[in-house]
């Protein structure tokens, strides 16, 4: 667009708007980051002085390590399972026509729209009924249910950019259905599959409410943080918050980069994945 058609006022207003939006989102996180290096016990200004004692305290706390371990185990397993299920669901939607398909897709994308407290309660009720509650796999089951729709949405977006003849062309060139899946469909979806792995891991990593209901004694890190908050006010929370934030942001950004980069090669750039639903 040529410059003389633009109002400078609107330009500046938009810039200010973006700035405010980012400030609103990131100020608390930045504050938490700053205070995590503050020597004072209570977050107050002026800052008391730079220190890493809270990081040391966290690093020496076996409870934190246990929470982190649970979070990581759950995150990795959840991301793999949720992405596999999401891929299957998206592929089914792409490839087949069947009675009740609209209903099937709606149902498959439903879980993120259910309030987490309700989902958590329902999960707890269900899992304890079948004696699966209070363990790390309870968190995994619940998180797979929550994350699979994200994976499905991401893969579906990618599949919608695939020329429908591509798979048939592979069959026609001597590939069986399994070979076409392996050599054509999966490679085509590879960026979306990685993006889905990272996003679902990030969702599981952050998720608190459902994990709180079903984890029992095997608390994940976010649940541990709540425990700390209830017991005492400690800058250790800032430390953990900073860590969790950095970890999830890294995963989400990786996913974005993957989706943007490869999406452009074939047809068009993939939509940002954050609003994939």
């Amino acid at each position: 667009m040529s410059d003389f058609n633009r109002s400078r006022l609107i330009d500046w207003a938009l810039r200010l708007y973006i700035l405010l939006a980012f400030a609103f989102i990131f100020a608390p996180i930045a504050a938490s980051f700053v205070f995590s290096f503050n020597v004072d016990r209570f977050p107050s200004l002026p800052l008391g002085g730079f220190s890493t004692i809270w990081y040391e305290a966290v690093a020496n706390d076996p409870l934190v390590w246990e929470g982190l371990r649970n979070t990581l185990i759950a995150g990795v397993i959840v991301s793999v399972l949720a992405t596999a299920i999401g891929f299957g669901a998206a592929y089914t939607d792409f490839r087949y026509k069947f009675f009740g398909k609209t209903f099937y897709v709606a149902l498959a994308l439903l879980p993120p729209t259910i309030p987490v407290v309700i989902l958590g309660l329902a999960m707890l009720a269900f899992l304890s009924n079948v004696n699966l509650s209070g363990a790390i796999y309870s968190v995994i089951i619940a998180h797979v249910v929550m994350c699979a729709p994200f994976a499905m949405a991401i893969v579906r977006l990618r599949l919608s950019q695939m020329d429908p003849s591509l798979e048939a062309a592979a069959w026609n060139l001597g590939a069986s259905e399994w070979m076409a899946m392996r050599h054509v469909v999966v490679p085509f979806c590879r960026p979306a599959i990685f993006a889905a792995l990272f996003i679902t891991m990030a969702v599981s990593f952050d998720e608190f409410a459902v994990a709180w209901f079903v984890s029992g004694l095997n608390e994940t890190l976010p649940v541990k943080v709540l425990g700390f908050l209830q017991g005492q006010v400690s800058p250790r929370i800032n430390v953990i918050g900073t860590f969790v934030f950095l970890a999830s942001m890294t995963l989400v950004i990786l996913a974005q980069i993957l989706l943007m980069k490869r999406g452009g090669a074939s047809t068009k750039t993939a939509e940002p994945v954050g609003d994939g639903l």
């Binding site: 048939a168 592979a170 060139l173 001597g174 069986s176 074939s266």
Partner: protein, 364 residues
Amino acid sequence: MTEQALVVFDGVAKRYGSFVAVEDFNLEIRKGEFLAIMGSSGCGKTTTLRMLAGLEAPSEGEIRLAGKRINDLPTWQRDTPMVWQSLALFPFLTVRENVEFSLRMRGVEKAERLRRVDRWLERMQITEFADRNVAHLSGGQRQRVALARSLVTEPPILLLDEPLSALDAHLKVRMQTVLSNLQRELGITFVYVTHSQSEAFSMADRVVIMSRGRIEQIGNPQEIYRAPRTKFVAEFLGSSNIFAGKVSNVNGEAIRISTPAGDFDVAPNTAKPLSKGDKATFVVSGDRVHLSNQPPSDGYNGLQASVVGEEFVGATAIIHLEGAERIEIKAQKSHDELGDLNLAPGAKVWVSWRPEVTHILPGE
């Protein structure tokens, strides 16, 4: 089945629910011929090709390839590669990997794969792009990759589904030459589906014209052009004037047909013996009629018509006229032949032609 038939369609039909896509389809495709299947969209030509490729199963009848029934053979077990309208190149693979694909799927060992891919890259003149991503190629180059990818297994038959439709006119003509030469050199069978008369007629040895799932006519381009079998074919080719009426007199060699536009003498057609009172439809192609200010001399058919408009087509012009009973008439003439004839809309001119240039449609 003759010795030369590579593919036989024997009473093939394809239905989707109550919709009939292809019906009563009988065709022998010869070894080494360039066959075009032509028709407007929805006529069943692509469905026919997909049945041959193994992407659709016939609802009825039998398809044989080299004498073997292939109805139930999945597409990956046939060697009937297809060039797609969208080309369907694999976007995440390089040119070389695209061409290599079918050899890899068929378990050809690596050294052999390389040799054959190299040969085809060379043959299609795309060696210099071998390691490029297919997304970064021009339309003509992509076309060549698609051909190499399909031909690398050296199949007995190649199926083409409107592969040139995405190209601009100039490139289209160039690719037509590439395809014709390739087919001649390889000596394999090409089955080419298109809605374009110019593509079909310029490349094919034989043309099949389809309409509403049925074959309207099979023949070489000259036959079809000069002697269409049905009104549909004549209309589809678009260059003929069509007159329908009743036989009013048969006198030895001369047949007289009364139509709403007038009575005309028509050459008999051995494929359609007529007697008095029969319904008959005949055509006169637009380049064989004369236009004049004077009524025609004896031995010519003539009618007076008014000019509707003139369409400029390079070296020639198509004059649209309207005769009695609003009958449309087209005349295709060079600018020299038109001379100083008054062709203003509404002007009256005489349209004439000799009985020998008429053709009675045997299928009507």
